[in-house]
């Protein structure tokens, strides 16, 4: 809300420096967003919180300021007004609860008495309100001053009497700004005999608005219940000065006084005929709220030691009156402008505001006894640190991206879209982290990088039962023509697999299996799916070459993505003392069919040698010279040991022969 500095000083009848005024207002919760100059004046832009509808006016701000500074403040402007002609329309409040009070007045024969006051125009300009018609300008000025929105109709366009009612089925209204709104039954309208003439508390209808040609005017000033106005304008995608005020709550004792104030300004400027003010009020007119509270309630919440008199006097400054006292129980009456006060805690905040938050004590907390458990967050951070130690830089990408990016990779299935994206490049939640990391790669290549190793820990989303899953993804890209003088690291599938094996070892995750990948994003013959027992937890490998161009790249990269939630959290368990007896080793070299996998060979070794076997380690795979076509040579070392004795040559020979015969029978391997 933009307000002129001069209007505030006028209302508080004092002239504090603008800095100290703003500082004081800030300290009571009225935040200043910006200060700008307008001629010799200043415009202060306030960032009002939605609870403080009462501050949505110059007088509202002044009232709160004066309460804080313990200065006298009078919100009532003495307006001497008496109507001369008779108001000749009937007003029917059909929506009794929604609009329990309505005032209207007729104006005609407008003739300028003196120059239209400049301060009104300047006030409107500062607030960013367009000047439309002198009478509209005056009611808008009074709204800015008092907080009461009013509306001026062209009376000649109103057919018959006026009713305040809810919209009928399929009713429409064209509002100011030429917007045509299809109303629903919960929209409150002001209507004549034929049709709605205003969207109550929000905007007047275009067909009944004033223009230069208007001869006879009707001004409305009413009380609309906040919960009827709330959210209605927003539903149609707009807001008005009126809707913002009414949905927060406009002082229910203000509508007549504000109208009188507007009329007295009109009379000051014009020779004019004004009718009596027609006011209709019904039994639903709000009553002032009562709140019970004790001194102890206040002190218990604030940690203070305030006396009853102190609390009473603070609240009195805010026009919150003590009306009943029963031992410790104090009953306060909430003034008609404070819609935000309804429970004890609200009054406690009022006390705190006036005392000053900075003057409230600081109290050491008592320890809390709760069951403490290791959080998932620690696990996630450990993984992140592990990745940085393996040379990966952490990136953080937006969770949303262009749906096209998913479509390009055929991973848009089951994706979740945003109904109201910021723009189309951020319209869908990512189903995989790959498009994000690939985009990071393209971005960095364009900025001259030819090596990149990055990772991200973030969620992927899909319309499954889970909807969101925390994933760890990593990418390595190497296009360096000249490596460091002493380094010849080959970044291939096995490099990335090795890192993942390290990761699983670091976090004691066992029962991991690697199978030829079914993941369409990856190279069908040079990538693996990763299983934990029987559960697919991720994939690793080279990007499928068919996507390279689509991703704006010239060269493939290595990639992995795994589900973090599937990883077991295995703490270090029982430690086993190593055997005191020596370990025996034998090396083997076999010629074997090229299609036999290492996994098959390893299984065969474990099945063949059942006694004493500790581990096998492959140290060579070769399929070149001296090896028949379709065959390969593999060499591995097997280790045996016992924790009961030193193994004899006989023991070892027996096991070694079992391996040789097993390899031959099961896999057709020939010892070289």
């Amino acid at each position: 809300m933009k307000v002129l500095y001069s209007r505030i000083t006028n209302a508080i009848k004092a002239k504090p420096k603008i800095e100290s005024l703003c500082e004081d207002l800030t300290l009571i919760g009225i935040e200043v967003d910006e200060i700008k100059s307008l001629q010799r004046d200043k415009i202060i832009d306030f960032d009002l919180t939605p609870n403080r509808g009462d501050c949505f006016s110059v007088k509202g701000l002044a009232r709160d300021y004066c309460a804080f500074k313990d200065k006298k403040f009078s919100s009532v402007t003495k307006s001497f007004f008496k109507g001369e002609t008779k108001f000749n329309k009937k007003i029917k409040l059909l929506a009794k609860e929604a609009c329990p009070a309505y005032s209207a007045v007729s104006i005609s024969n407008l003739k300028l008495k003196k120059k239209f006051p400049y301060y009104i125009k300047k006030t409107l300009k500062a607030a960013g309100i367009q000047s439309i018609h002198p009478l509209v300008d005056i009611v808008n000025f009074v709204m800015l001053e008092s907080g009461q929105p009013m509306h001026v109709f062209d009376q000649d366009k109103i057919e018959g009497d006026i009713e305040v009612r809810f919209a009928k089925t399929k009713e429409q209204i064209k509002i100011l700004g030429e917007k045509n709104l299809k109303l629903t039954k919960d929209c409150l309208v002001i209507a004549d005999e034929k049709q709605p003439i205003a969207f109550a508390g929000i905007s007047g209808g275009l067909n009944h608005s004033v223009s230069k040609k208007t001869q006879n005017f009707l001004i409305e000033s009413a009380f609309f219940r906040p919960n009827i106005i709330k959210g209605k304008a927003r539903r149609y995608g707009f807001q008005t000065d009126a809707s913002q005020r009414f949905e927060r709550g406009v002082d229910f004792n203000l509508h007549e006084d504000a109208l009188k104030e507007a009329l007295s300004i009109i009379q000051e400027i014009y020779w004019v005929d004004i009718s009596n003010i027609e006011t209709i009020k019904n039994k639903y007119f709000p009553k002032k709220k009562l709140i019970n509270i004790s001194t102890e309630d206040v002190n218990l919440k604030l940690g203070t030691d305030l006396g009853e008199n102190k609390i009473k006097s603070i609240l009195k400054r805010l026009e919150i009156k003590l009306i009943k006292k029963n031992k410790n129980n104090l009953t306060f009456e909430v003034p008609s402008h404070r819609f935000d006060l309804s429970i004890k805690e609200d009054l406690i905040e009022e006390v705190a505001r006036i005392v000053g938050y900075d003057n409230l004590p600081q109290i050491k907390n008592d320890p809390i006894t709760q069951h403490y458990e290791k959080s998932d967050y620690d696990f996630i951070n450990q993984i992140k640190t592990f990745m940085t130690n393996k040379g990966f830089n952490e990136v953080i990408n937006y969770s949303f991206l262009d749906r096209q990016a998913l479509e390009n990779l055929d991973i848009e299935n089951k994706s979740i879209s945003l109904k109201n994206p910021l723009n189309n490049s951020l319209n869908t939640l990512r189903t995989s982290l790959l498009p994000s990391l690939a985009e990071n790669l393209e971005f960095n290549i364009n900025r001259g990088q030819n090596f990149l190793s990055i990772f991200e820990m973030g969620k992927s989303f899909s319309n499954d039962s889970h909807m969101e899953e925390l994933n760890l993804a990593g990418l390595i890209y190497d296009d360096e023509k000249f490596k460091n003088w002493n380094t010849n690291q080959n970044y291939d599938f096995y490099y990335l697999k090795g890192i993942l094996e390290n990761l699983f070892a670091e976090f004691r995750i066992e029962k991991i299996f690697w199978k030829k990948s079914q993941n369409d994003l990856l190279h069908p013959y040079a990538s693996a799916d990763i299983y934990l027992k029987n559960e697919l937890i991720g994939s690793v490998g080279s990007i499928n070459p068919r996507f390279i161009k689509l991703l704006g790249l010239n060269k493939a990269f290595l990639y992995f993505e795994i589900k973090v939630e599937s990883l077991p959290r295995n703490d270090l368990g029982k430690l086993i003392a190593p055997s005191i007896y020596p370990i025996s080793q034998r090396d083997f070299s076999f010629e074997i069919d090229n299609k036999v996998s290492y996994e098959q060979i390893e299984n065969c070794i474990y099945i063949s040698s059942k006694n004493f076997l500790i581990s096998t380690k492959i140290f060579d795979v070769y399929d070149g010279k001296n090896i028949s076509d379709g065959k390969k040579s593999i060499a591995f070392r097997v280790s045996w040991g016992s924790n009961k004795k030193t193994l004899s040559d006989e023991d070892i020979n027996k096991e070694a022969n079992l391996i040789i015969s097993g390899m031959q029978k099961k896999l057709g391997a020939i010892l070289r």
Binding site: T26, I28, G29, P50, R52, K230, G231, R234, E247, L300, K301, L302, G303, I343, E345, D346, R353, Y357, D358, L360, P361, Q362, K364, I368, Q370, Y372, S375, Y377, N381, M387, K390, G391, N393, E394, I396, N397, Y398, S399, F400, I416, L418, K419, N420, P421, L422, L429, N444, R447, Q449, S453, I454, F455, K459, M467, E468, K483, N484, W485, N486, Q489
Partner: protein, 325 residues
């Protein structure tokens, strides 16, 4: 040759030795089949029996002298050999080491960790919640009913499956109370989303939220916790102010500002307050028995202040030159 002369020769010979070869030759000269000590000891059988023990003893002394000299010279020669070979191992220590890339954590991760470490050490549990939320947890349960003007403060992204992207980490408060009951002391970092983008806003950002629920929690406790944290994060001489604000889920509510030493401006760093009784009630606890405080801050802002970042968007550009610092 008599024993004394032999002894003198032995010492002299050893002094002149410079190589392993020469040392080997000396061994032949003295202890070989026809070596001098060997020859001499053969004489023992020609001596009268009463002289034999004395002579034997002398021969023994001679042998042990030989051993001592041999050991010391052997050590000297080995050292000499090592010293000579070292020269061949000469390298240029100014050449760079073998390349191993070292990654860095994202500045937001580092900032989050700094904050969670502090609160963890004070006994807070670190909690997490979903990023896709329901209207109920994001708004209703936090005392923000439908059509509440406060929903305007949250430019919410709605999803085609009827849910929304959480606009704050506060839903975790409700989920944690429901899960763990009271007393409760939690801190929840996480991603949040609002449809807003300019130099100081990104449509996705990070928040961290703290919640303490117990009997008789008051505003003084909240102030103390926040002040201790600010001392830790921004330093002991940081000027702080608390001012009234509005959040539907706290009452009273406050914003916390710190004074920027350079610009002399107050910078808003977090929102906080005593948990609104409606929220405690909605989460299933008795608001007459339990009270609590909550606080929340934007991690980007904290990172911005820590690392003097000009443009918030650079935190999400993922430029490796920025990240690898």
């Amino acid at each position: 040759m008599d024993l004394d002369a032999l002894k003198a020769n032995l010492k002299k010979d050893f002094q002149e030795i410079v190589s392993q070869d020469e040392l080997n030759q000396l061994k032949v000269k003295y202890l070989g089949k026809k070596g001098r000590i060997t020859e001499l000891s053969k004489n023992i059988k020609n001596l009268p029996s009463e002289e034999r023990p004395i002579f034997g003893k002398k021969i023994g002394e001679l042998r042990s002298l030989y051993e001592d000299l041999l050991n010391s010279v052997q050590e000297k020669i080995e050292l000499q050999i090592i010293n000579e070979s070292l020269e061949k191992d000469r390298i240029d220590v100014t050449l760079p080491g073998s390349f191993k890339s070292q990654g860095k954590l994202h500045p937001l991760t580092i900032t989050t960790k700094k904050i969670t470490d502090f609160f963890s050490s004070k006994g807070y549990l670190i909690e997490d919640g979903p990023e896709i939320e329901s209207d109920y947890y994001n708004f209703d349960a936090l005392n923000i009913p439908k059509d509440h003007p406060a929903r305007d403060m949250h430019d919410t992204f709605y999803l085609d499956n009827g849910n929304l992207l959480r606009t704050h980490t506060s839903p975790v408060q409700i989920r944690s109370i429901e899960k763990r009951g009271a007393p409760l002391k939690i801190i929840c970092p996480g991603k949040v989303y609002r449809s807003d983008a300019d130099k100081t806003h990104t449509p996705m950002f990070h928040q961290i939220e703290g919640l303490v629920i117990d009997e008789n929690i008051n505003f003084g406790h909240l102030k103390n916790e926040i002040m201790t944290f600010i001392d830790f994060f921004f330093g002991l001489d940081t000027k702080v102010r608390f001012r009234p604000s509005y959040f539907p889920f706290t009452e009273p509510s406050a914003e916390v500002d710190i004074l920027d030493k350079k610009s002399k401006n107050w910078l808003e760093i977090m929102g906080c307050g005593l948990v609104h009784p409606n929220v405690i009630d909605m989460a299933g606890l008795n608001p007459k028995k339990f009270s609590g405080f909550a606080f929340g801050m934007g991690i980007e802002r904290m990172a911005k202040l820590s690392y003097e970042i000009e443009d918030m968007r650079s935190l999400f550009s993922n430029d490796i030159k920025f990240l690898s610092q």
